[in-house]
Amino acid sequence: MTEMEEQSGPPTTLIDPIDMSKLDTKFREQIKSMPNSEELSACFACSTCTAACPIANIWQYKPHQLIRMIILGMKEEVLSSSEIWLCLTCYQCQERCPQKVRVTDIFFDCKNLAAEEGKVPSNIIGLGKELLEKGQLYTVTADWEREDLGLEPAVPGLSVEAVKTILKETRTNKLVEGGE
């Protein structure tokens, strides 16, 4: 047995209490009004989502903690977290939730709220820029490869204009302009 160290003060805190004054009590309702988030409050923190997540072990905030943080109103922490952007969108958490909480879909809602505040990783803004300027993420460059395979060199029916026009009127445009 090791000897107890002499204590000079009270024991250290195991869990830092949440600062109630920093909670945004409306955050929960805000998320609940977004797509596929109706079941948010049904979460009973069983952490099945975390057990199902293939990368939760490298996350500071685990999926079940993020859901709990939304319910508590920790808006700033959730919307600034890197975890929401690292979500693989593999839906393993959502598929296994016994309470039918659409965990992955809720993280999409969080990302949209973060985007509304301009908090988006620069590479994702870059993809938005591609869509806005080119109307697609990949463009055919090696058309001879297509011809060799008996395909039309250009993709039949492809039109990139509509995508550009639509995204000019939605948040993508604001984000791309804001990022420049």
Binding site: R102, K111, N112, N123, I124, G157, L158, S159, E161, L167
Partner: protein, 288 residues
């Protein structure tokens, strides 16, 4: 003869014309009419959904509305496009508020989303509308039982209430070619493609875990039905070899390439030389 609206998306035509060519030839064999959709573009991918929900809903609702005009279901060879289209279809059918918002935008082009046609993955259409038995009847060079690990891809399987796709469909389609389906522990796991723009290292780790699990379970080849998953599992093998000297030697084939070869097509027909990890060893497993 079933007729479909063919939605290619942007990745397959640009990066995997061999997938497109093999799919078109397989469709021809089974008298499936795939008609390239007119006036459509990219689905935006989950990245657009993350930053601009309304924009993502609208561009996909527009594609669905264009298909509704001729009444044929959409088929696509890409899990990303399938996931986006199916998710938007499912969501707008149930959410009247967003349906109105989106249709107000589409009205300018005289389009309206009604939800009258269904977006489907090409392999699901093969399974449901042609059927494994009919598919088997045309096979002239069945595979010799070689072990193939299937990577289904997340957005084909989940969320199940949206995708309505069951892994058995693809299992049976692969078995119909004469191959054996290798079960492996990480069969449900993500390939990592979605996080590639945010954390490349994490994406590589996920692909490696997956490859390791397949290899250790005895797989000799991998079957995929998505360009993004294909890219992760195929291209990353070259990177792992170059960076760490780690070799898995697991050729990655798009499902229509496997079926096409079993139907007697040549390696040129299915564009086998474009696969990154050399895949010509599959030819040694053709019989008949």
């Amino acid at each position: 003869m079933p007729i479909y609206n063919l939605y290619m998306g942007c990745s397959v035509p640009a990066n995997y014309p061999n997938y497109e060519a093999a799919m078109m030839k397989v469709a021809e064999t089974y008298d499936i009419q795939l008609e390239y959709m007119e006036g459509v573009g990219c689905c935006g991918s989950p990245n657009l959904r993350a930053i601009d929900y309304l924009g993502w809903l609208t561009i996909n609702a527009r594609t669905l509305a264009i298909a509704e005009k001729n009444g044929h279901d959409i088929v696509t060879p890409c899990n990303g496009c399938f996931g986006s289209l199916k998710d938007v279809y499912h969501f707008l059918k149930h959410d009247a508020g967003y349906r109105k918002k989106v249709n107000d935008i589409l009205k300018k082009d005289d389009l309206e989303f009604k939800g009258t046609i269904t977006p489907r993955h090409f392999v699901e259409a093969l399974y449901t509308d042609i059927g494994v038995e009919e598919i088997g009847k045309k096979i002239t060079k069945p595979l010799d039982g070689v072990g193939i690990a299937i990577h289904y891809g997340c957005h084909l399987l989940r969320p199940i209430d949206v995708t309505e796709f069951r892994p058995e469909y693809l299992n049976q389609l692969v078995q119909a070619t004469g191959a054996s389906v290798i079960e492996y522990p990480l069969w449900k796991q993500c390939c990592g493609a979605t996080v590639l723009p945010v954390d490349e290292n994490l994406a590589i780790r996920l692909a490696r875990d997956k490859l390791k699990s397949m290899k250790e379970s005895g797989a000799e080849f991998i079957a995929v039905v998505c360009p993004a998953c294909g890219n992760q599992l195929d291209l990353q093998q070259l990177g792992l070899k170059e960076s760490y000297g780690e070799e898995f030697n697991l050729p990655v084939l798009l499902y229509p390439q496997i079926l096409g070869l079993a139907l007697g097509m040549t390696e040129e027909d299915v564009g086998l030389s474009m696969n990154r990890v050399p895949a010509d060893s599959i030819l040694n497993h053709l019989t008949g």
